[in-house]
Subunit: 644 residues, 2 copies
């Protein structure tokens, strides 16, 4: 078999001819980024063939210049019979994410959270005095434990954990039978998940985990003290395997890659668990339960469930409501018998992050008022309803707000331009950069600002095209392509100018259109108008940097009085927290999930019509955006005055 050597690491692997280089790299343990999941469309896995011949047909995603230098896309290029030497470029710096401060809960209405008196977690710790071993009584250690527990709990507990049995003899003898048992409660059953010598009832911990496509967040909860004692988030290690859920599904098509994705997200979660445990001075084995929320694809990937059918008609997931699992089954490095529970998913593209998220809203309360919940991420999910009905849908927003498909797009991390002001008169931009460094690129909130400001000042039209009739130093027209220089070469980290093209603008328009039209369609489905909506909740990490005015200006969010909007932050994490500390909130979540009707928008005939109108700034139907109309008029008047 031909051998493939990767430089600079020197890792090598033998693979059969026909293997693609992405797969060869995977087998050699060499990390390559494949934002599109290995579909040959994102161009991020470009590598240079130093020696040997590969089978590669040029792909649109790789521009011509690097091809001349012997560059190919690893996901498309295939090994022939020859040995190969492949040069891997330096990995793009992910940068340190701009994550929420550790304990920032972001919740507009903390009164929705379970109060300390409402704490009623899924595990309980009991201090027991177990009778000493006696000759000839015919009782094993387990028998004596079971008797003591029956006395304490009124019923015989289930003890079927080898982990507990393996330590039982020592634990019972360490403090003369004085032990603390950790019990998992389910319906009318107690299961022993841990035994510890002495009184450890005050050391009782749980986790809330949000498993996002882009980021993963973990909270460590001290159940005895009824408070969060540490929280951490980080990028999902699956990122190099695709930026959005569709790319991940594509990447997972081969079994070893599905397993790779599973290991990557587990690695991320376990790294964060170690971090919060260290920060809270807790041993991971003291953590007795975890509540996890993720979208349907992330949930499938975390458990190694084949996600392929999620993207094939009729979009049927393997599982929506997961049984509770033991942590060692899923691979979480906490107490091996810890009870894991997953927020239920509603459909292929509305997952547990949403059923967790709506717990943080009045949608989970007995309200008459109709409320709207919008989660903006690489996917958009929308829920609308009140005490009488709940309806949900999803739209594939795409990764544009996360920097995907945008030439100089980056995630909201150090070096990202996150806020932009445009001088209406000159079209020149001023901006702020996360971390106050030279800019590396522009993130979603920056793009929204830029788009809104250029539009208001008339530098781009409602279709997102640059005005070819006015001269602007920042805008250059080359043939049919126009682009906007956001930062000149001298002012950037890389020494290359940051340029926004009309293609980038189109991508942003498609993303905002899909979210807006999904909300609009869902309401139309129900015969409701936007005016009937009491509150609009915005969830998702992205929302934190969002300028509401600009988001309405471009038509991403509906033009409603500003006070109806509530930003929730990481509602998926908060909902996980609620279900982790309270069995009542978990029951509420399951009941909510049963009530929601999931609609598949892809198959709705009216969708394209709604979407097409929303592809404009802010919309073809300007009457939907009265405040933008007013603002437009005002700004353009001001612009004209200043240009006089």
């Amino acid at each position: 078999m031909p051998k493939v050597i990767f430089r600079p690491s020197g890792h090598g692997v033998q693979v059969p001819p026909g293997t693609d280089l992405l797969e060869a790299a995977r087998q050699a343990g060499v990390e390559l980024e494949a934002a599109c999941g290995g579909e040959g469309t994102c161009g991020k896995c470009a590598v240079r063939v130093v020696s040997g011949q590969v089978d590669f047909t040029s792909s649109g995603a790789l521009c011509d210049a690097p091809l001349l230098e012997g560059c190919v896309l690893a996901c498309v290029a295939r090994v022939t019979g020859e040995d190969l030497t492949i040069e891997v470029p330096e990995p793009a710096q992910l940068g340190r994410g701009q994550f929420a401060p550790e304990n920032e809960l972001h919740l507009v209405r903390p009164e929705l959270l379970p109060s300390p008196s409402e704490f009623d977690p899924h595990t309980t710790k009991r201090l027991l005095q177990v009778a000493p071993p006696q000759p000839e009584d015919g009782l094993s250690d387990l028998d004596r434990l079971t008797r003591a527990l029956k006395q304490e709990c009124g019923k015989e507990p289930v003890v079927d954990s080898l982990f507990c049995l393996r330590k039982l003899a020592e634990v019972l003898r360490a403090d003369n039978g004085r032990i603390t048992a950790t019990l998992a409660r389910a319906q009318d059953e107690y299961r022993v998940i841990d035994v510890q010598p002495g009184d450890t009832t005050l050391r009782h911990f749980a986790l809330a985990i949000d498993v996002g496509t882009t980021t993963v967040a973990v909270q460590l909860i001290d159940l005895a003290a009824a408070q969060v004692i540490a929280a951490q988030s980080d990028y999902n290690d699956q990122m190099p395997c695709g930026l959005d859920v569709i790319s991940r599904i594509n990447y997972a098509r081969h079994q070893p890659r599905l397993e790779e994705l599973r290991r990557r997200v587990l690695r991320t979660i376990n790294r964060l668990i170690r971090a919060v445990a260290a920060s809270g001075a807790v041993d991971p084995s003291e953590i007795a339960s975890a509540s996890l929320s993720g979208n349907t694809v992330m949930t499938h990937l975390l458990l190694g469930l084949k996600p392929e059918y999620l993207r094939l008609d009729p979009y049927t997931p393997t599982v929506l409501h997961l049984p509770s699992l033991r942590s060692h089954e899923a691979g979480l490095e906490i107490n091996p018998e810890a009870k894991l529970q997953f927020s239920p998913c509603l459909g292929s593209y509305v997952g547990g992050d949403i059923t967790a998220g709506i717990l943080c809203t009045d949608l989970a309360r007995d309200a008459e008022e109709i409320n709207l919940f919008i989660d903006i991420g690489t996917n958009g999910e929308i829920v609308v309803g009140n005490r009488h009905f709940l309806m949900a849908c999803a739209c594939s927003a795409g990764p544009a707000f996360e920097g995907g498909g945008i030439e100089c797009g980056v995630r909201a991390a150090t070096g990202a331009i996150d806020k932009v002001q445009v001088d209406p008169a000159t079209g020149a931009a001023t901006y702020s950069v996360i971390g106050d460094t030279l800019p590396r690129g522009i993130c979603g909130s920056g793009m929204i600002d830029l788009l809104a400001q250029l539009f208001l000042a008339g530098w781009i039209d409602a279709a997102g095209k640059f005005d070819r009739g006015r001269s602007c130093p920042a805008i250059c027209h080359e043939g049919r392509r126009a682009s906007y220089v956001l930062a000149p070469a001298a002012a950037t980290a890389s020494g290359r100018a940051l340029v926004v093209t009309e293609i980038d603008l189109e991508n942003i328009l498609r993303t905002k259109a899909s979210i807006y039209s999904a909300s609009a369609l869902l309401l139309r489905h129900l015969g409701l108008s936007l005016d009937s909506i009491g509150r609009i909740y915005i969830a998702g990490g992205f929302g934190r940097f969002l300028d509401l005015e600009n988001a309405i200006t471009i038509g991403l969010l509906p033009d409603r009085p500003r006070e109806v909007f509530q930003y929730l932050g990481n509602a998926s994490l908060m909902g996980s927290y609620m279900t982790a500390v309270s069995r009542e909130f978990r029951r509420r979540q399951l009941a909510l999930a049963r009530r929601v009707t999931y609609v598949e928008l892809n198959t709705a005939p009216a969708y394209m019509e709604q979407y097409t109108g929303a592809l404009f700034l802010p919309h073809t139907d300007l009457a939907l955006f009265p405040s933008v109309q007013t603002r437009l008029a005002a700004t353009r008047v001001a612009g004209k005055q200043s240009s006089l």
Copy 2:
């Protein structure tokens, strides 16, 4: 840290000073035999120090000669600060065991076995037609499976297996929803343990496993055909870590060695599983359940439970009645969700092999007659009772019958002398050898024959001492030690004479005395005489080679009419088979186990008295052995006549 290199393999390891060489060898992956479990008493782990200095005080178990050549006992010799080179002698050949033929069930009364119509195993397979995925019905693959099963079984099954969920999507789509589900049944609950495409209801398999201290046996049962389709046995890979349960407990004192013992017995079981699966043309993943029986120590070691407290007063095991486990938890390489159930143990030294074994006897029936069950192995276990009572005890017979502690003792394998005849006049032996080769040593049944024949002919006295008054070419007296040449150097495999010493005879006497006195004491405890016993069952692989007359002559078995004895063979395996194929037999076994009273003989004051009498041939109280008295008189008369 000093480095230790082992020759001839060349494996090396760095260990801190003070580490013993047995531990260093373990860490280096070098196999050393330690029949005594690393207590410095058996001498089997002798190695030669080629270079470097070890800390070693001569031990009685190592005779002087090899010490002069730089030999030490690896279990006692400790690493100092110096690097070491250690020569490991060629491993003693275990030899291929003389195991029971594959399908030999050895059962005297096959009518006790469940009939095919009584087959009612712990798992069931159901052919289902699962509804196809539909758009907008909000049902996952799991939901559709659950619905189909509810319709089939009348109640909702538990599906909490990731293994099943991971294959579910493909299985449901492989044959248009036509699938076979394997369900584990427990009380009033169904748990899904496998899903397969199409109709596989006729491929339904279970295992019966006997986990013995010396040998492990596995039967593969075709549940659909109601028959055993393959069986295999082999030595327990734990053998190099101690010959009897006490040595294994000693060996397991350090956590890594407990883990090593667990891995060794698992390796043995999994090897046998692969063998029976191959022989039966079954994929191991098709095996849906296993019934395991082992003594209490073996059960603890197989599950990684610390056995130390089994040998410390008050001899309390961690567990007697094990919960059912899933095979992946215990490490059996069959279907990962296969249901494992263990025969319940009665006490530290009467285990699941006995509660399985008595299922093969009238003790498990509603009999008025009082029966006695004796299992002779490295440990002896005795059960006596009828429908009104059941009582059990154990005695540490020691490994003499397996060749342990006997200078030329070997196990009943190729090259072992298994039957002996002694010419009463000359004292010369003729013998048969397993495998018809030159002899390597003598096994238990051969030793019993030899002892009985030498005693009957008057060459040894009732105390097991050679007659110093009569000249016999085969007996040599050196000072206070006398020995018997069983085979001269020229007639053996090794070219060294096979010699039986008075110390060997003492070991055999101690072993037979402990078994006899335990039976006698148990009966006395109950106020019963031997005459009240209806049937005497002999279990254990050892019994297969046993000559009943000779066993009674030496006083191992009570002197009762020969027709009351019934040899059961591997009753532990047979009982496992019964509980594997029938839930009714499993319930019967659990009910039996609850009925048995376990007595600890070590603490009974009358034990030493009984034991001391039984140390003689056949006993100090000859009235207990009338037929031996008759035989003695006859043989000695015959001997005198022929020497005239």
